[in-house]
């Protein structure tokens, strides 16, 4: 038997992504058909298409995958997931990659993590989303110049009774916060 010219593939990143994704074991069945990228409404703005990213995961290109903008372009429309002939939960893989990338501070080229953190920060505090609080905090700290463009829209929403000036807090916020604290203790990430 001749020596193989290919080095042994490093499967550790593949295993890590599978462990982070519910149903992630399907990932090994990717046959690189490209249905995901072809279905994705945002693939043109991704630095790698979903198909490429799945190949890179299998190839163990951890750093490149985690610093990619691909998963941050994903808006969870699930078009790829429903069309994947191998039943790979691609949207959930994108969520998993977002989480790993966030934990390691690799998501530096997008405002998506800031929006996510601001959103869940308000949820943790009030139990409900608070659109004005979300918009003002997120834009102020991340894209203050855009606030000028958002002003007229906010005003029109307000005049039609579609924007509240105050957050709604759920009655049993202590109960929700206890559940969140326990979930974090059990292995969640902040």
């Amino acid at each position: 038997m001749a020596h193989s010219s290919t080095a042994k593939r490093d499967d550790s990143f593949l295993g890590e992504v599978i462990a982070e994704t519910p149903g992630g074991e399907r990932l090994v069945h990717c046959m690189q058909c490209g249905s995901c990228g072809g279905s994705c409404p945002n693939s043109a703005d991704m630095d790698r298409t979903p198909r490429t990213l799945l190949a890179m995961i299998a190839a163990g290109q951890r750093e490149e995958v985690l610093s990619s903008n691909t998963m941050w372009c994903c808006v969870s429309c699930y078009a790829c997931t429903t069309r994947c002939p191998q039943k790979i939960p691609i949207t959930d893989i994108m969520y998993a990659l977002k989480r790993i990338s966030l934990r390691e501070g690799k998501a530096t080229t997008t405002d998506a993590p800031a929006l996510a953190r601001t959103f869940t920060g308000l949820l943790d505090r009030y139990g409900r989303s608070f659109e004005l609080g979300l918009a003002s905090r997120y834009y102020l700290f991340n894209k203050p110049l855009s606030m000028l463009k958002m002003g007229p829209l906010g005003l029109r929403m307000f005049t039609r009774g579609r924007m509240s000036l105050r957050p709604t807090k759920i009655r049993q916020i202590d109960q929700l916060q206890a559940i969140i604290a326990k979930a974090r203790e059990l292995g969640g990430e902040a």
Binding site: Y78, R99, T110, E131, A135, R160, R162, I180, L186
Partner: protein, 299 residues
């Protein structure tokens, strides 16, 4: 029939027209909606992007709060609907995860048994549970002469659908055919509206919004009907900026499907939240619907 009702945060304010129209339509169609007491936000896509277990526990609290004896919950918001189903399935398919979620819920003296509450979208409840005969029987203001573009978006039909086709859903089409409207066939009815991309990257979001508005316009629609607050917000509130960006005239009223359904069922337009849309639907509703029948509204 009695359902637990999970309005979700958008329906409290920016999509108030959706909430009030859902409630009025349910009333006329004999559906009892009992709002889940002290429900919390589902976290949309934002919690799953950071922390899966916490995301799931936050969502599961709502399922655990459904009153005993009620085994179905209606969520009109596509994101809420998708999240509630996602967590129910996650707990059922992965018992270890289900156990952890219940440990978290136990910190709030709650428990949820996977599969004990069936999550439904309002569109499916009207199509399946009320059905054609009962809807037709209640129509007092046929939508004859009105061309509607049903817009399904993403999360109502994907990934865990209530039964409609994921590629070519037709339930909203059929409901509006029962009401006498002309349903416009346009190719992007399940394309994504951009979701939260309007906040993150406007160039990306605006192109997605343009496609939908322009396709509905060029196929002759009088209005787009939505089954999701995010879709309605993106298509309605950003419409003038998208038109300016692409230097293309756009004037497409975007309403919730329950608003037009309510009108057909004879509910007064004001009670259905008409007038809250940014691109006004008033002139198209007035000009297309026969004035004589407009008086047939229920008080």
């Amino acid at each position: 029939m009695k359902y637990a009702y999970y309005p979700g945060c958008s329906l409290e304010c920016n999509a108030l027209a959706y909430d009030v129209s859902v409630r009025h339509v349910a009333d006329v169609l004999g559906l009892t909606l009992a709002e889940i007491d002290d429900w919390n936000c589902c976290g949309a896509t934002e919690y799953f992007s950071q922390d899966e277990l916490t995301a799931a526990a936050v969502i599961a609290r709502n399922l655990a709060l459904v009153e005993p004896g009620v085994n179905q919950v209606v969520a009109p918001c596509a994101a809420c609907y998708c999240n509630l189903i996602k967590v129910d399935h996650l707990m059922a398919d992965n018992p270890a995860m289900g156990e952890k979620i219940n440990q978290a819920l136990a910190a709030g003296k709650l428990h949820y048994k996977p599969g004990s509450v069936r999550v439904r979208h309002m569109l499916d409840v009207i199509y399946e549970d009320v059905g054609e005969a009962a809807v037709r029987e209640k129509v007092v203001q046929p939508l004859t002469g009105l061309k509607i573009a049903p817009y399904y978006g993403c999360q109502v039909v994907r990934p865990l659908t209530g039964g409609d086709d994921t590629e070519h859903p037709t339930r909203m089409d059929k409901i509006f055919t029962w009401l006498g409207a002309e349903v416009v066939n346009y190719p992007v009815k399940t394309h994504c509206c951009g979701g939260h991309m309007t906040q993150i990257s406007e160039p990306q979001a605006f192109e997605m919004i343009r496609r939908i508005l322009q396709s509905a316009t060029s196929n002759g629609a009088d209005m787009i009907l939505c089954a999701c607050p995010m879709c309605q917000l993106n298509l309605d509130a950003y419409q003038d900026r998208v038109a300016a960006e692409f230097k293309t005239p756009l004037r497409m009223p975007v309403l919730y499907f329950t608003q037009m359904l309510g009108l057909a069922l004879g509910v007064d337009a004001e009670k259905l939240g008409f007038g809250k849309e940014i691109v006004s639907a008033e002139s198209v509703v007035q000009s297309k619907l026969r004035p004589a029948t407009l008086e047939n509204t229920r008080s």
